[in-house]
Symmetry: C2
Subunit: 217 residues, 2 copies
């Protein structure tokens, strides 16, 4: 089937952190084209129900994963005559962040197999140009964290500064100096100390924090 | 007329510098909708001829202005059911840079009136959501220059460091310290001194530079 009008889709790179590794959600395609290959969750714009493409992305992601994410933002638009065998197509790419303690809530629909892949090496047998889409989404996320934005949406509601540092390191792909990192957080308005709340473990109790009201990544 | 498939356009914010002011090109709409209002140059995707949306943008800009620009890059995609009375529409926004000495080469088509507007205050009677598009394109340009990219595509082929500094200032909307700026350019690989070539004027002769081979904004 050849489409005369461009096919418009929203595709979403949903990131989370597991075992200190940045992961991206992939869905096994259950239909042609690219049947059996792995793709970012995505779906076709429905002009009858979607007020704009942000709504398309939100609807598609909820439908494919069963979760509503706290952060979803546009990365860029990929387009062309040859990237999809159905015809001229246009994919508006989004990236989204899922807290690490909500990974269990993500369930593929009955027909879809899902996998959390290493975001830096998402593997082979990827559908369409989705390897390039993952690279673009990852670059946007890294760039933002490199510019000192705090990826709090990847953390549980209550977190320690060590967890925050490890999450930044997972995204940047390199270690950060602990004392420099802590100094930077001294007057950071995005996080709020939880008075009297600590994480108890093998080490000495660690102060817990939460995202401040109105925090924006 | 209601369109069932989304209307896909490429719109371009074409910037240049005149009299040390950053300007953006506006075209007076000669057709409905929004007849007589001022819009960014833009046009509808033609899947039969455009390999991708970058080609749409290049084709549209050449057609509307008669010039091929040295720099054209995607900003973001604007979409929705209500932004265009013709129906659900999607505009992929680009920004482009035109050297200040090539402004004279830009000619509107016989039917189109054109104007170079102040990029920071493009005025009233703007079509569609193009005021928001201009703000987004301007933010992308400023952000890039703020992060030390050199806007050489806005300058003539041969330029002085004073002209370069003034161009940066026009984009950033603030003055830069001359000695800090000069120090930053000391080992800058993007520019190349033209041996023995100077600009002669009222002041003492000023060394001329050009963009180095392979320079990328």
């Amino acid at each position: 089937m050849k489409i005369l009008f461009p096919l418009v889709t929203a595709d979403i790179a949903l990131f989370t952190v597991q075992d200190r590794n940045l992961r991206v959600l992939m869905v096994k395609r259950a239909n042609d084209p690219e049947l059996g290959k792995w793709a970012l969750p995505g779906g076709i714009l429905n002009p009858a129900t979607d007020a704009d493409l942000d709504e398309t992305a939100q609807r598609v992601l909820s439908g494919k994963t069963g979760v509503d994410v706290p952060f979803l933002e546009q990365v860029a638009t990929f387009s062309g005559a040859t990237r999809d065998p159905r015809g001229w197509s246009l994919s508006v790419l989004y990236y989204a962040l899922l807290p690490s303690d909500q990974v269990h809530a993500v369930a593929g629909r009955a027909t879809d197999a899902i996998e959390w892949r290493d975001a830096f090496a998402p593997g082979s047998r990827l559908a369409f140009d989705h390897a390039a889409l993952i690279r673009a989404a990852l670059a946007t996320l890294r760039d933002k964290v490199d510019r000192a934005a705090l990826p709090l949406h990847l953390l549980p509601a209550r977190f320690t500064l060590t967890e925050l540092q490890q999450t930044c390191e997972s995204i940047l792909g390199r270690s950060l100096d602990k004392s420099v990192f802590r100094r930077r957080l001294k007057d950071e308005p995005g996080i709020e100390q939880l008075a009297g709340e600590f994480l108890y473990g093998a080490q000495r109790p660690a102060q817990l924090y939460r995202a401040a009201d109105g925090f924006r990544f």
